[in-house]
């Protein structure tokens, strides 16, 4: 297969396993490009991309913007604060106004689940979901899986545990879909209050004990505790969470195997992961950031290629 089966990237659930493999193979070539003395190619020079961020983001926004610029696309940046959104403009109106400026693709982060899908059905542009509420964050899942593939050679049969706030995490959901489609085994681990009721129905293992999870896994993806999404108390105190689910060097040494540690960022040092672990050789956290640019270049390139046939 040499092109994606979808016209937008709304979620990993819409992708076929072959799509994921194609994105990885294309990302391999872009990873080489971004390590050249001149890190830019002209492929998307006739494409204009608007980055619509209705929710805060540092890493994803920078990573997308860099990927777009490395591909020579023209880039428009929009963030909800200080825009007409605060004056009551609807999402479709905002998007259509931006499209009237001849924009080809929209990369959007939005606090509401399904916002990207809604936009794709209502405006004439290629939509890339950069996170929609607690639903999906497909490019993060792709770069996580790509980083595991790079570190371990393959995803087939690799055991990955996702630890922490599963309930509020779009990263967790996209990761589960992506890892399963690529042939990995997935376990979810976290406090019962932060484990969604549908967890078992995803076809994953579930545990509430970090030691048990670490004993089982090859790779541990430590999620951030999302204080901003927690209106009620999901655990008694941050200290208690850290005691039970914070990853320390002791826990790792206990496992007596070479475990790869990941984190989608931003890290709460000393909460879900100690600095010692985050900065150790087990960690591929900074590789994830580098791979993020290559994977996003691959996604944008492959989606742009689809636009000619529309």
């Amino acid at each position: 297969m040499s092109q994606l089966s979808t016209d937008h990237l709304l979620g990993i659930r819409d992708l076929a396993p072959e799509d994921i493999e194609l994105i990885f193979q294309t990302a391999d070539q872009f990873k080489e490009v971004i390590n050249r003395p001149i890190k830019k190619v002209p492929s998307l020079r006739d494409i204009t991309i608007a980055n619509l961020f209705f929710e805060n983001s540092t890493r994803t926004k920078l990573s997308f913007e860099l990927a777009e610029k490395r591909l020579s696309a023209d880039v428009l940046n929009f963030s909800a604060s200080g825009s007409s959104v605060s004056k009551g403009e609807t999402l479709i109106d905002t998007a259509n106004n931006i499209l009237a400026m001849k924009v080809d693709m929209i990369v959007m982060r939005h606090p509401l689940p399904g916002a990207a899908s809604f936009l794709s059905r209502n405006v004439d542009a290629t939509i890339v979901n950069a996170g929609d509420g607690t639903h999906e964050h497909p490019t993060q899942a792709l770069l996580d899986a790509y980083s595991i593939r790079e570190k371990r050679g393959s995803l087939k049969g690799i055991k990955v545990v996702i630890v922490g706030d599963i309930l509020h995490s779009r990263v967790a959901l996209s990761n589960v879909f992506c890892l399963q489609k690529a042939g990995a085994e997935v376990m979810l681990c976290g406090p019962r209050t932060l484990m969604p009721k549908f967890a078992e129905s995803l076809g994953v293992k579930v545990t509430y004990n970090l030691k048990e999870a670490i004993a089982w896994c090859d790779v541990a993806n430590m999620l951030r505790v999302q204080n901003e999404r927690m209106q009620t108390g999901y655990f008694p105190s941050v200290r208690e969470y850290t005691m039970q689910y914070g990853l320390t060097m002791d826990t790792l040494k206990h496992a007596d195997r070479d475990i790869t540690i990941m984190h989608p960022g931003p890290i709460n040092r000393g909460v879900e992961i100690t600095s010692e672990v985050a900065d150790s050789d087990y960690s591929i956290i900074l590789n994830q950031v580098e791979n993020g640019v290559a994977v996003r270049m691959a996604v944008l390139y492959l989606l742009a290629q689809k636009r000619q046939e529309q």
């Binding site: 040499s2 070539q29 080489e32 003395p37 001149i38 002209p42 492929s43 006739d46 290629q305």
Partner: protein, 181 residues
């Protein structure tokens, strides 16, 4: 398939030997020169020439493989999707004498893209082009080879097929109708 063989294994070998001697004549010990095979089809020829040069006493011939997919001028303009190949250049070409190597020179558009692409790796002192087959009446851009194996007068509805030998196959270059590709 209506296949017309234009070069057989023996002739190809003679041409490759001549190209080797021409390269040595111009580049001496290759201390300032590098071979760049254009992906995908120039790679095999570049590797073959590198091995032949080294067998003829040139001590070190730097070889890189350059993929031009991201620099093409027909992205989103052709029916078939473009699939990138590996680029592998583990040296800088700054102030080096670069020799592009491809199997067939047709419209010249790939070479145009390669001229763009190579600048990501530095500014070469000069760039030459070596091709095994030159389809001389099919050029769309003002690009000519510096070293040419064989000139062919194929028409647009035909395709030049270069097959490199391995265990059970021989080197062979033929002209086939475009439909059978």
């Amino acid at each position: 398939m209506n296949k017309k063989v234009i070069l057989d294994e023996k002739l190809i070998q003679i041409i490759l030997e001549r190209l080797c001697f021409e390269l040595i004549e111009h580049h001496n010990d290759f201390s300032q020169s590098v071979l760049i095979g254009l992906q995908p089809r120039g790679a095999a020829l570049a590797k073959r020439l590198r091995d032949m040069l080294m067998a003829r006493g040139v001590e070190n011939v730097p070889l890189g493989l350059l993929d031009i997919t991201f620099f093409r001028d027909d992205f989103r303009r052709r029916g078939q999707p473009l699939q990138p190949n590996q680029t592998h250049i583990d040296f800088l070409v700054e102030n080096k004498r670069v020799i592009f190597i491809d199997d067939v020179l047709y419209t010249g558009r790939s070479v145009r893209a390669a001229l763009d692409a190579i600048h990501s790796f530095g500014r070469p002192a000069d760039i030459e082009l070596l091709v095994l087959i030159d389809r001389r009446f099919s050029r769309k851009l003002p690009i000519q080879p510096s070293y040419c194996g064989h000139q062919v007068d194929a028409i647009d509805s035909e395709r030049v097929l270069v097959e490199w030998g391995n265990d059970d196959k021989r080197d062979q270059i033929s002209i086939i109708p475009h439909e059978s590709t």
